[in-house]
Symmetry: C2
Subunit: 286 residues, 2 copies
């Protein structure tokens, strides 16, 4: 699966580079490669496969689209006017490496590339393009997507659940739902699977942040406390947060609808929990 995801991302980035201003082309590539865990595209492909998709180019394109949208949000969130993060994935953030103007444009370009990838791959199945694009758009736009989630940080008071659902959950929901759409299945029963995994991922991120294990996360940590942002560890303690993470992943696995590959997918989801708990905490949680 990793190979399919990287190939789809490589294709999208190459298309964007050819004839583009050199700085922009370099910055787009820098924002996408090398990636992190590519967790959202993996999830999407796993759901598509469980629903019977047999490695379709449309599935690859949608997985690629999810990762491009995720990368776009990282690049813009790191900007000086938001987190002002110097480091991302263990090296300078895009605006530190390429300057602020190109960082703004890279985010814009990645959003456009995401929708373009789906439309291009969908020429042979146009009836699936419409729900795919509306699902992706809802996940990243406003009122309830990633952009809205980030915008809650500009409000005097932040509704915690809505904030997390928009900022993290929305793209996980899109990942599971789009996996189903690609395979021609009803996406609605898949919503809750993505939602629970998104919540689990948020708790994992909170654990990393609160413990400030800078070397592992590859980005500046302890940001939530510094910026007075909501954080599950601050609310539940470390052990409480780990328990919460396991409960959420368990709920996600239970919610997997009956389908050809339900059993395998449930196991895969449960394995995700292990990967989500930060390395330094596994012993204490075991």
């Amino acid at each position: 699966m990793r190979t399919r995801i990287e190939a789809a991302l490589t294709l999208a980035v190459r298309r964007a580079e050819d004839g583009a201003p050199e700085g922009l082309a370099g910055a787009v590539r820098y924002a996408v490669f090398p990636g992190g865990a590519r967790i959202r595209p993996h999830l999407c492909l796993a759901v598509a496969e469980a629903c019977g998709d047999e490695g379709s180019p449309l599935a690859d394109a949608v997985a690629c689209s999810l990762e491009l949208l995720h990368c776009a949000s990282l690049v813009h969130d790191d900007l000086p006017c938001f987190d002002d993060a110097d480091i991302r994935r263990g090296r300078p953030s895009v605006h530190r490496a390429y300057g602020e103007p190109l960082a703004v444009l890279v985010g814009d370009a990645l959003i456009v590339m995401a929708f373009e990838a789906v439309a291009r791959a969908g020429a042979s199945a146009p009836d699936r393009v419409v729900p795919l694009i509306t699902t992706l758009a809802r996940a990243v736009g406003t009122p309830h997507g990633l952009v809205a989630g980030q915008a809650w940080e500009s409000e005097p008071s932040v509704p915690l659940e809505q904030y997390h659902r928009a900022k993290t959950g929305s793209l996980f929901m899109a990942a599971t739902m789009c996996g189903a759409i690609v395979a021609g299945e009803d996406p609605e029963p898949w919503r809750v699977v993505g939602e629970r995994l998104g919540e689990a991922y948020q708790v994992a991120d909170d654990l990393l942040d609160a413990l400030a294990m800078s070397s592992e996360a590859g980005k500046p940590l302890g940001q939530d406390a510094a910026l007075a942002r909501p954080n599950a560890v601050l609310a539940l303690g470390v052990d409480g947060a780990i328990a919460r993470l396991h409960a959420l992943v368990g709920q996600a696995a239970e919610s997997v609808p009956e389908c050809r590959g339900a059993l395998g997918l449930r196991q895969l989801v449960l394995q995700m929990a292990k990967r989500l708990v930060p390395e330094g905490l596994k012993r204490s949680a075991a």
Copy 2:
């Protein structure tokens, strides 16, 4: 036509507001209303109509999408890291009114809303959604769209023609081509019509900028000379630039392909030339 465009924009903005963080919702509305001439959506609807479209909701959605993408580019171009413009359309720019974080997010949100609008309206004609979205994406993304155009400004040397085509021409090309696609016609013959009009519009913008008629443009002018950007007036002089504008509009009118409403559309295009020449220059050009 103005009514249809404003109604489609109102619908898209209302959808984006409902349940969104208050600041983001306000800033999105502020970025879209009240608008300027809405020249790109007008052009798109005029082409659609000339090709036989009878006021379809898909045409309205595509027109709306073009304007949302244009607004997104204005909001991001005005940011401190680019033009650092305090004024837009005669009042504070989005980042001056709502702060830089929300201005970045408004641009992102508008791009997403643009693709969402087309996909939502296209459920009844999914085979047209695919070429519409790829055409729009090419016009705003990279390597040759709006975002790439803006990124040329970060390069040590700017290829003038490529820069203008990407920064201004691309969305005009998308306007005429999408108008044809909406009506089920081949978009290719319509490319050159949009291209010439985009070039004419660029010359008109250069005239405004070079003459620094601040009150008319509603934004800070003389920016090109200050930022050492290419400008048709600097290259051709005022009379030369006006002659060039008329020649380009004439070529656009000539290029209108044979279609049901070709005659009316050619006249409309020629009328655009009059609107494009800045008021203060019309006497000298007559």
